[in-house]
Symmetry: C2
Subunit: 343 residues, 2 copies
Amino acid sequence: MLTDRQLFILQVLIDDYILHVEPVGSRTISKREDVSFSPATIRNELADLEELGFIEKTHTSSGRIPSEKGYRFYVDNLLPKTPLLREDLERLQSMFTDKVEETEKLFDESARILSELTNYTAVILGPQAYDMTLKHLQIVPITGNMAVAIFITNTGHVENRHIMLPDAVEPGDLEKLVNILNERLSGVPLVELDSRLKSEISSVLHSHVRSFENMQDALSKMLRWSKKDKLFFGGKTNILSQPEFKDVEKVRAVLEMLETKDLIRHLVAEPSDGITVKIGRENQLEAAHNCSIINASYSVHGKHLGSISLIGPTRMDYKRVIMMLDMLSSEISARLTNRFSQW
Amino acid sequence: MLTDRQLFILQVLIDDYILHVEPVGSRTISKREDVSFSPATIRNELADLEELGFIEKTHTSSGRIPSEKGYRFYVDNLLPKTPLLREDLERLQSMFTDKVEETEKLFDESARILSELTNYTAVILGPQAYDMTLKHLQIVPITGNMAVAIFITNTGHVENRHIMLPDAVEPGDLEKLVNILNERLSGVPLVELDSRLKSEISSVLHSHVRSFENMQDALSKMLRWSKKDKLFFGGKTNILSQPEFKDVEKVRAVLEMLETKDLIRHLVAEPSDGITVKIGRENQLEAAHNCSIINASYSVHGKHLGSISLIGPTRMDYKRVIMMLDMLSSEISARLTNRFSQW
DNA sequence: TATTAGCACTCATTTGAAGCGAGTGCTAAA
DNA sequence: TTTAGCACTCGCTTCAAATGAGTGCTAATA
């Protein structure tokens, strides 16, 4: 549908706009070394491209800027397939050669480096609780009737909770209780633990554990799992250095969104293979209408665990960013797969 | 040194400026009901106050605004001792009547409500690791040679860490190890655990636990405690709605500071009794030169654990904010004291 | 037929002058 | 000691003119 020349001009225009953040005029394009036709010709082509909705003017006599449709087309069809810059690659890989011990730190570091490299905001959605199943449960008495329950999941995650035991619980009882719980709850998704207790195990415990009645409530509370997950941020304030966000009000909408965990989670939890690009109004959220969000998910053994995202202005260095996310997500997947297989 | 009338005028001026954020002129002051003298008189007094450095002009023919010295004087001498507004009080107390279970949630909620009530940024420095001592240690084997170590502190805090046991560790050994560690390390500050292991306990363990040699490194790593603490934020973006921060560059300095944990920690960790007020350049940090930081610490049994702070523009509603922080910090102290005494 | 030079036109932005008004300091009268 | 009066300052707004980057259209050219 578009002629080769139109494609070429569109690409040049978008590349230039992404670089300089200023409306691109016919003269600017014609000055490029690899452009042989005159400004007038380009003006004609630009008029056509505008009619087709790929570019637009900020006012009657201004140069053109890409429209959202233009960016969409660019991302889908015009992305130059240049490999990652060597320095970017090296920086990313350096992160993985310093072997990062804790998973949390891995995410933190990834978010930080990603945001430094791109100057956009990086958001990593950590492994989600409802994807985890219980591997092992332990209850450790501390003092009086206080105890700590320890949960170990199939993903190697460990979590602890306080629990209040009833006054009269015999040592043997507690052991029996833990044994039964482990038998019955091993492999069960965390979010289902509580309902399983009520539906299946309650009766068994009733008959085997004397003090069960007294601790039923505490147990139930202990097993109640919300869909908790963790967000890791990098470069939260990077949006402030984007020229199109020099207005405080615009900035505010985005920053407040970043501070609202529920919104971010929603925006960023996009379970899909490969890489997703949401441009401007393609984002549900009003506050993100001036942003683009690139999203890649990481997985272990083919199962999506979480995602890595970049939030920046619609004018974004798509090609670089997409390459980086692609590399990073598969690298993280590999790391986690390796780590989890140890358990 | 200052006459009563000068004191009065200074107070009125600052109160007005805090409220309206605009230079205050002689006419404005004279219009108040409780002011009986004419603009000209006031102008004379203002000139004196300016000469003394308490107020300044933004340009030759503008009204006056308080200088930092003025704010300092105001905070030290002129704070009207009006009690908290009833609605503020109720809001704060509502937070404590809904009994908050987890300590983390208590801090989170406090920061949120405090920031909503004031429209400034609230930062709460959680209990610091180096103030905690070990109460009880437990090692739970999981699979293979993986295990989880659980630390319970005198403040009721629970933390867990992964540990890699050597291949050949006999069950009895582990039990003996944990017993010895508990005996020797109970009551020791977390940050000293590792050095204690090396200096005192190493030899004991050598002679009592056969596989100790193999696990020495892992143990040492497990006991290595950094000065970790946690920050809780509320209203991070509130600064954006302050009229004196409508310039993106000014905002950026502050927001980036808020994102840099080390800076914030440093800024906010001000161990002192009562309430501290740092105005503008009194803050070490350049980025906080346009801000005031009010700081109150909370404690358990007279021992400082952490602090509650508010960060806002130098023009701040000091009287309201100070009252609120005062109340909140003592309330939190009471809660924590009560909570910890259960352990 | 496709390209390009030329030209009139548009419109955001910059510049400078003029007027407004809120505020001042100073002086002289009350 | 206080206050009325007045000249003065200076930031802010408004308006008009100049600037310049860019356009669309037309007619000439390859």
